[in-house]
Amino acid sequence: MHSGQILESILIADCGTVATKMLLLERVETSYRFIAQAEVPTTIGPPWEDVSVGVTYAIEEVEEITSRTLLAGGRLITPRDGLEGVDAFVVILSGTEPLHLVLAGLVKEMSLESARRAATGTYTVVDGVISREGSLRSPEEAWARAVRDLAPDAVLLVGGVDGGASRPVMELADAIALGTSLLPSAERPLLIYAGNVKLRSRITKLLGSLTEVEVVDNVRPAVGTEHLGPAHDLAEQIFLEKRLQKVSGIETLFGWSNFPPLSTATAFGRVVEYLWHREANVGRGVLGIDLGAASTTVMACFDGRLYSSVHGGRGIAYGPLAWVKEHGIAPLQRWLPEEMDEQRLLAFLHNRELYPATVPQEVSELWIEQAVVREMLRSALRIARPAWDIDADTLLYPGMMPYLDPILISGGGIVHLPRPGQALLAVLDGLEPIGITTMLLDVHRVAPALGAVAGIKPLAAASALSPETLVSLGTVISPVGRAAAGDTILSMKIQYDDGSELDVEAHYGELEVWPLLPGQLATVELKPHRRFDVGLGRRGKGGTIQVQGGLLGLVVDARGRPLRLPVDAEKRRKILRRWIWDVGG
């Protein structure tokens, strides 16, 4: 099957950690439209232990919605037979166990940091780090013990610039060899070597008799150079082989599809890449965030280059507890607009893990959920951002976000929030974008599915990525600068397309929202205060821009960057309540 073939109908199964979504895409004249969507619990885990059970239930729901026959004898009819069945079936998957890794390297801030970023190319969790740093009395024993006791899927060994010193890396390799040899052969980790190029043959010789060894380019070939691509790609390939293709019941789905399954992150990345090309905003990148139950995916595209970062074990349900163990409870508490004791907060996080598919029924639980969203986004960005190779025009303010337009928001963790204002506020607080940004919400959570479709029928994906699919929350202007609370930092004349005008001002410390309906365009004349950059390249520079409306309208986030919350708890809660009120949350 090739992209030129006419595909009248495409069925996409998106199997997440807690939910399996089924989407039916059909050709309507020259474009493609969503005809039906169903969502059921994912059945990878107990009591079902078979991903195809949930997929079959979801297809049955689509049959019910469309009154069409898609299954015959429990099997998907493909290719289409008259009005029955579909022309193509695609599976994307994120709901499986991530790859468990141990990272081994010399310097935490250098090669090990690069290794960590390389590992985030797909669904991985880092179970342990063994490093030359520290003052262990018997480091080789501790390193070997870490490998033996953690028994990861793979050890990623990095370290040493190309042509640099050998001994420290070989000492690590010796200990890894020892730890590996102490495991039964079926449990031995794969060794990925991405360090000093001159040691490749020695490493392969040392470890090759014990386990499988994969060699890729050095992630840090020189002190100031990071080269993640090959290690990234290898991690993705291993995830596909060791996890995705071994999901219980996946062979049933393989039997229905001519296309290899994709990871959800890869599919989502394609959409972000497509948006960058579609929008063609010079000097701006495109950011995609997919916050799921068990992972957070950050996809960024600058100058046509995609940077992918998947944070396994950092989702809205699985991950916050472990995160709290590392960072404490205070970072979550600071986002709550009402007082809440630590025990209640911890109980919430535990129950969220025990029942990952559930939704808040009480407002207080909704606040906690949104606090988790903010911190998971901030945590994922801290790891993802240093890998972005951004030119000076896009990154004007080091330490802050580069100019991004649009930002695509997907995943149940955000999209399930009851009001669009809550989603917007959580994302603004979590990402702290600067300048002028259109916020797109993947309300039906179809973006990854369309990324998968793009691989077989780009036209279908492109035509389905319409404003009905990626709904605009509005245009957000986030000026960069500092002022006293209440100071006017931006004056605007909004000219609506019906000819009416509005003269407005934004005040420091406030979130201001002006009406601009979805699909409506307006011309906005911006006159920022001389100490503020509104996204036009420098402080004080004004200009006229075209903006598009959205569910919220035109938003000015005049709270300053970086965002600072009052230290006093009562003042902080008061201001949080006001911001929630401002965005209609």
């Binding site: 009591p47 939704v359 909704l366």
Partner: protein, 349 residues
């Protein structure tokens, strides 16, 4: 509507997997009848090991260590055995830090592995072995009452079920635990405290079952050596009416309590089972459609842990206190009817 489910059932077909922590040997055959305490598989723990850096201890270069060694690879040694020496009287000596076997030598270092410790796996439930997992374990099938929980402290045990509260909303108190409860599996209600744990350990109870516990107590629960089963969730949550009623009816019977939890990705549901001398019973019908009258449990606050029956399945989505509009069901919780979104419900089978 396709919902997840938990089993709270007075008589059903029970199948439990008994898995070794690492590859080992299965000791029974498919079709064999087994007793609770009967061994079904065994393996060994990961051996403890140590690297003895002879070169460093004797101040020798690694190349010269070999001539100083007093033991060979494969030798069994006791703690204190001389492994290598340098010089004559008054010279340096390197000794074995623990009992074990020398399993490797290189770069001036010896690898010493401690003796293997056997890990035994019993059947836990009396019944028939219906599946062998090669080198990993077995599936045992039996009939009886079965109550699944949501959290456990990864211990297992046996005992006679005894109630220590009159109603599921009552907290378990230390003063309710006395010497008559030695070896028993105690059914409490809403939570417990540190005093209960201490008293339960003193009385050597066989296990504890409660609806919920506070998050701060979880580390203490993990540390005790008897099994603890949480049926509803974390927090002050009563045992569900369905679970409490069934466990009350089963008081006085021998029960098996598995509080094994697994991990996020290899989940094991903790449970309490009471094997019955039945010869047949049907397994739960997980494919049965959700309908008016179906028994369900609410999974989130403010109704978390309550069980009831579906009284209405509205076609329209309903608005929650949070502002979310979701599909769901009206559930009759013992006379009080509430709307619960499907995402916060599970079926009780």
């Amino acid at each position: 509507m396709f919902l997840p489910y938990s089993v709270i059932n007075p008589l059903t077909l029970i199948e439990v997997e008994r898995r070794l922590p690492r590859a080992g040997e299965v000791l029974v055959a498919e079709g064999e009848m087994v007793e609770s305490f009967q061994l079904v598989a065994k393996t060994t723990e990961q051996p403890q090991f140590g690297i003895v850096n002879i070169a460093r201890e004797l101040h020798l270069s690694p190349q010269k260590v070999k001539s100083a060694l007093k033991v060979k690879v494969g030798a069994q040694v006791s703690a204190g055995t001389i492994l290598a020496t340098r010089g004559m009287l008054g010279g340096r000596v390197s000794r074995a830090p623990f009992d074990g076997t020398i399993t490797g030598y290189g770069h001036g270092r010896l690898l010493l592995e401690a003796p293997l410790v056997e890990v035994q796996l019993n059947a836990l439930l009396p019944g028939r072995v219906v599946r062998i997992w090669a080198e990993k374990g077995v599936t045992v099938q039996t009939y009886g009452a079965f109550v699944q929980g949501v959290w456990g402290n990864n211990k297992e045990g046996y005992g006679v079920l005894q109630l220590a509260v009159r109603a599921p909303h009552q907290p378990l108190r230390a003063r309710r635990l006395d010497a008559s409860m030695q070896g028993a599996i105690i059914v409490g209600g809403t939570g417990l405290d540190a005093a209960v744990l201490a008293q339960a350990a003193d009385m050597q109870v066989g296990g504890l079952i409660v609806g919920g516990v506070s998050a701060e107590l979880l580390p203490e629960l993990a540390a005790v050596d008897f099994p603890i089963l949480i049926t509803e969730g974390i927090g002050e949550i009563p045992l569900s009416a369905a679970a409490f009623t069934l466990l009350r009816d089963l008081a006085g019977r021998e029960a098996v309590l598995s509080a094994r939890l697994g991990t996020h990705w290899k989940t094991e549901r903790p449970y309490v089972a009471v094997p019955m001398p039945a010869e047949s019973a049907r397994g739960v019908d997980s494919a049965a459609p959700l309908a008016i009258g179906s028994q369900v449990r609410a999974l989130r606050a403010p109704l978390q842990g309550k069980t009831g029956v579906i009284s209405e399945l509205p076609l329209d989505k309903m608005e929650l206190e949070t502002g979310a509009r979701l599909a769901g069901a009206y559930v009759d919780f013992d006379g009080e009817v509430d709307f619960v979104p499907f995402s916060n419900l599970e079926r009780i089978l």
